[in-house]
């Protein structure tokens, strides 16, 4: 597959994630959109990984080029998981206090 396809797909997903972050007020959905952005990144990384592998393997049959990107994806997932645990804890804490997950509801800090 031409790498451009993957780039466009990932960028599209990433932008949709950004759009979601910008248009939604529900903290959980916003957070989910961020996860969507991360997934777009992951996809692109894997695609790049295979691209570089494809280039490298022409020279060296036993190359591990590209493995690093896939491991990076792995780490991203790790971090995402950790972030989710903290993030959801924060959202739940907020919900306990104000019974809402509206990000605009808490608006004391400004100017």
């Amino acid at each position: 597959m031409p790498i451009n396809y993957y780039i466009f797909l990932a960028v599209a997903l990433f932008s949709i994630g950004v759009m979601g972050v910008l248009t939604r007020r529900n903290a959980i959905i916003v957070f989910m959109c961020i996860e969507l952005m991360l997934n777009a990144v992951n996809l692109l990384l894997v695609a790049f990984s295979k691209m570089h592998y494809a280039n490298a393997v022409l020279v060296n049959k036993t190359t591990t080029a590209g493995a690093d990107a896939q491991l990076f994806v792995f780490f991203i997932m790790v971090v995402a998981a950790a972030e989710v645990s903290v993030g959801l804890a924060i959202i739940v804490m907020m919900y306990r206090n104000i019974h809402s997950v509206d990000i605009n509801f808490l608006n004391r800090l400004k100017h």
Binding site: V30, H52, N55, E83, L106, L109, K110
Partner: protein, 457 residues
Amino acid sequence: MNAIILSAVWGIVMMYSGVVLKKKSSAKYVAIIGIVMLIIVNWLEFAGLSFFPVETKGMLQFNSFGLLFNTVAFVSTLIYFILSGADMEQVGNNVYDYFALIFFVLCGVAVVSAFQSLLMLFIGIEIISIPLYILAGSDKKNLKSNEASLKYFLMGSFSTGLMLMGITLIYGSMGSFYMSSMNIGLGPLSPVMALGIVLMMVSMAFKASAAPFHFWTPDVYDGSPTVFTSFMATIVKAAVFIAFLRLFENAFGKMHGQWQLLAAIITAVTLIIGNVTAVFQQSVKRMLAYSSIAQAGFMMLAIFAMNGMGKQGLILYTAAYSLATIGMFAVLIKMKDYTFDGFNGLGKHEPVLALTCTIFLLSLAGIPLTAGFFAKYYMLVAAVKTGQMFWLVITGIICAAISVYYYFRVIQSMYFKESPDPGITVSKSFKTVLVATAVMIILLGIRPGLLLNFLNV
């Protein structure tokens, strides 16, 4: 490596000592022991004695720059613990956990001051960020704290997304995460690489609270419990700048000309927004938040200039800025009223506090004989030395003049306005450490070499 491991271990020690030691007030002492050890082992590594011969596979590299910064960060943390450690007990029941989280952050600090691979940068930044989300929200019943935490978290995650996109694009272009393998060529950038660099710059600017990605800063600093604001605004921010510099020097240093304009724009906008907005603030805490943005603008000059002068200056700047801001926050925590008027008459009732505060503020404003002067001096020299974009230097000095306005408002309140005794009680040791900090600032202001001579660049 010493510091990374010890700080992680000591984080765990803190957690468990919470179980063993029931008294809240003991936490501070355990933490102080830890940080002192951290300083020592870091120093030993500086001296060439590494306890853990871990093969990093080129992921980390401990050079004098990073280690010196670690020292600055750890010493600042020590002062922070002594001055404000006890105030953490006010925030909630989990004081041991707070300390543990701070040690984890320090682990992250040590990682980002030594990273050689974008992966380590990413992990390090996340290790720093995640505990901070929690610390920001640690005052659970306080809606402001909640809000700060949520905002910080959402925006932080978003910027992580941007950073990952940047890393991915860079990887796509370069096929590696190692900085050493990117720093090539002077020719025009490929669009992929260019976008990657922009995204890296945006996300680092976000973490460093540089405008226009700074919006979380005032709200989060204002909403978080003041003790943690102090930590976030100083050591963490300094570490982010070190990472910023490290990244752009080692990874993109040879393409300096390609992104210098963007760095200049960010610097200028940060300076203007930080300084100008701080002028109108009514709360000292919020003013300090904006001031941290303003100071970030000056530190950005080092990124913009990207030369030896800027590098040395950044270390000095972080030291000067951290010490002064920690001191300011330590005093601020003791105040009952965070507005400017809350400081009225402090010069009369608490002369030592007022005097040290004055020194901190003078340092922040960059008045000679304080470390802040040389910090700014190095930044300006670095910027002038580039010989380009002189308007940025002019913006810098105009903003430095504006900054005097809001820093001196505090001094005015303390010395020239009257108010009944606010009844602040501070211990002798608090004052002693405060004075010691002030003395350090002045010593650095007379001889910046005391710090910079350790840097063998």
